[in-house]
């Protein structure tokens, strides 16, 4: 399962929007709500295909959540779209009262996760996973690529309760083949190459986790990668099995290290009484400022392939300098992790 990373990855456009349209063809109960970010959330294709089921809510996220709750109570399955910050941080009380507490099948889809936006702290969803994870009954998902984006849309169709789906915006890498298995119940061991370090990653950090593990393995260090698309409910069995086999555990998330994947893994390890050195890669309790590009921010705040390599290297107390991550040039339409 290693040494064949198709890096740089090819990319897909609008895998989410197209998948939602396909699903909606056979699901008349699906309605699509937008908070003035239609094209950015890939649902312009839904508007074209099903204008009668497409609802403009404008820049009124609190109202949009309330409307979605009532539509769900009336038998619809609303998919609600905006950027992650405006989908979670802004209407939190409305999500609690109108969606989570009544346990309604509203799908809250927040685009542009973490520091993938150079738009400053106002546009960076760095605590959305933490906020949504804290709500009773909320399923929280952060997928890694276009294949899983397509798969997850169908997978969440029939979940009886609410879902928060966190999606990258723009060109989406294709990391996994079409037939790659996907399950809401199971985290996936997507690379196995020894038992020194396991990197547990979600969303946009899966690609750098794979690249980092690949480099560690090439350098003679045993490494594996667990992809956790569903952060809540966490597949603790898979995470604990991988952690049990490894000497150190490194988590990697495009999110604050507080309250997200790293916290969830820490809780699982502690509650199982499984003692492993744990390093959490993510935003170290800081906002992210000063950039024109996401790559700059990933580097500045330590969310890179190199940072994962160095973190594992240090946690394992290995001698000498850690290996360097390859600097991958990309052409238009290609994607490589920073």
């Amino acid at each position: 399962m290693r040494h064949d990373l198709p890096v740089p990855y090819r990319t897909a456009l609008k895998p989410y929007g197209r998948a939602l349209v396909e699903l909606a063809r056979t699901r008349p109960e699906i309605v699509c709500l937008t908070g003035d970010l239609t094209r950015q959330c890939e649902i312009d294709v839904f508007q074209e295909a099903f204008p009668d089921r497409f609802i403009h809510c404008g820049m009124s996220e609190a109202n949009m959540v309330g409307v979605a709750g009532a539509l769900a109570r009336s038998g619809f399955t609303p998919f609600l779209h905006t950027f992650g910050v405006f989908a979670t941080r802004r209407p939190l009380d409305q999500i609690v009262n109108a969606v989570a507490y009544p346990h309604l099948p509203v799908r809250i889809v927040g685009f542009m996760p973490g520091i993938s936006s150079p738009g400053g702290p106002s546009h960076q969803a760095i605590e959305d996973v933490a906020l949504m994870r804290a709500l009773p009954g909320m399923t929280v998902i952060d997928v890694a690529d276009a294949t899983q984006t397509r798969q997850v849309v169908t997978a969440i169709a029939d979940i009886p309760g609410p879902v928060y789906l966190r999606l990258k915006r723009g060109e989406i890498p294709v990391i996994f083949p079409d037939d790659h298995p996907f399950s809401l119940e199971h985290a996936q061991v997507v690379m196995t190459g020894g038992d020194d370090a396991v990197v547990v990653a979600a969303g946009m950090m899966v690609a750098p986790a794979l690249a980092a593990a690949d480099m560690l393995i090439r350098s003679g260090v045993g490494a594996s990668v667990v992809n956790v698309p569903v952060i809540k409910p966490l597949d603790t069995a898979t995470v604990l099995r991988a952690a049990q086999a490894a000497r150190v555990v490194v988590t990697a998330e495009n999110h604050s290290v507080i309250g997200g994947l790293g916290s969830a893994v820490a809780e699982a390890l502690a509650e199982a009484g499984l003692g492993r050195p744990l390093r959490r890669i993510g935003l170290a309790d800081t906002f992210a400022e000063g950039a024109a590009s996401a790559a700059y921010l990933f580097t500045k705040y330590g969310l890179t392939t190199q940072h994962i390599i160095e973190t594992a290297w240090a946690a394992l107390a290995l001698p000498g300098p850690p290996p360097r991550a390859p600097d991958l040039a990309t052409n238009a339409g290609e994607y490589a992790p920073v």
Binding site: V31, Q47, P51, D52, R53, F54, I55, H56, C57, G58, S60, A62, N63, V65, G66, V67, A68, G69, A70, L71, R73, S74, G75, F76, D93, Q94, V96, N97, A98, Y101, P102
Partner: protein, 342 residues
């Protein structure tokens, strides 16, 4: 649609100052002090047809021409007066064991709940939203009076382990939606009205009870914008303007007037009326039939209405009702109720 277009053209030529002047011609009537002595008067209906010019129906408004559910009022004024009194009496009995509670809300809104539950609501067809969840006491009382709720469960209202919580929750019976976090009900109401449109249920209506203090929450105005744009004409708001909130009279905390003009500017049909005047209330509610936009009835009320035994400085948000006062209130309302039975 053609009318919109024509008016659209004229709007372009109207200077801002001229538009402001036009708007001035349509100011709502002076808010009136609600008193028992108040005479019934014709409710005024301030529809500014020029508002049409500001609305371009969105692509999702294509179904807006569906006919509305007709509001047929199925009870007489004396019947509703009796029901309003019975709601007050039941509310007194629910609050009395604790010695304090959300009695003022039931006193100010009794006529509104009586009118909707007693004369307009078609269970199974229409929906009811009780936006401020502490008003749910009035919904419980009305539902018990109209046979929608087993009156036996009222006895446990607000107590540990009871089915009826004082601030409504998801497990509260009676309203289709209520929420203790204020200002959220209108969004739910708009969602229900939109769902009825999408489901092809033109006969269904959504009645949403709101309160004036809630108007300080921004979400109310997000929802008002949305419902106005979508022309959710099956949606009727009964706004209990009792001028009461936790810190004191609403108008001493934040100026929310002119209330009617605000709703009109958001694309609503707004009617300002004495909320204790059942003739005005029923007339205004019936007049909502056939509207081409959502409607709001701004019901001017008092949190002490119907109980002369309450002290003039009673805290309308959370009335204290010690045993002696509770007994006086019980006696006063029981006597009042007997008048209707006679």
């Amino acid at each position: 649609m053609i009318a919109h277009k024509l008016i659209d053209d004229s709007r372009e030529s109207a200077a801002p100052a001229e538009r402001a002047e036009r708007a001035g011609q349509n100011e709502p009537t002076e808010p009136t002090e609600p008193t028992d002595r108040m005479e019934s008067r014709e409710p005024s209906d301030h529809i500014d047809w020029r508002m049409d010019s500001f609305f371009t129906p969105g692509p999702d408004s294509r179904l807006a021409s569906l006919p509305d559910g007709v509001i047929n009022l199925t009870a007489s004024i004396p019947q509703l007066q009796r029901l309003a009194t019975a709601i007050r009496l039941r509310a007194v009995r629910m609050v009395a064991p604790a010695g304090l509670g959300y009695l003022g809300q039931a006193l100010s809104a009794a006529e509104q709940y009586a009118t909707v539950y007693g004369a307009a609501l078609r269970p199974g067809t229409d929906r009811i939203i009780c936006s401020p969840a502490h008003y749910v006491i009035a919904a419980y009382a009305a539902a018990a009076e109209t046979g929608l709720l087993d009156e036996a469960c009222l006895a446990g209202y607000g107590r540990d382990g009871a089915a009826l919580e004082a601030i409504g929750t998801e497990r509260s019976p009676v309203p289709d939606y209520t929420c203790g976090s204020l200002g959220q009900g209108l969004s739910a109401a708009a969602g229900f009205a939109l769902a009825d449109r999408l489901l092809g249920r033109p006969e269904a209506r959504t009645f949403a009870f709101l309160s004036d203090g809630e108007l300080q929450e921004g979400q109310v105005w997000e929802a008002a914008l949305f419902a106005g744009h979508q022309r959710l004409s099956s949606l009727t708001v009964l706004l209990d303007a009792n001028n009461s909130q936790v810190d004191g009279p609403v108008d001493s905390i934040t100026t929310i007037e002119p209330v009617a003009a605000k709703w009109q500017a958001f694309g609503w049909q707004a009617t300002d009326l004495d909320g204790h005047d059942l003739a005005a209330l029923t007339h205004a509610l019936a007049a909502c039939t056939g509207a081409d936009r959502p409607q709001v009835l701004i019901c001017r009320t008092s949190t002490r209405q119907g109980l002369t035994c309450l002290p003039p400085d009673a805290d309308g948000h959370f009335i204290k009702l010690p045993a002696e006062l509770a007994a006086a209130a019980e006696a006063e309302l029981t006597a009042e109720l007997a008048r209707y039975a006679a």
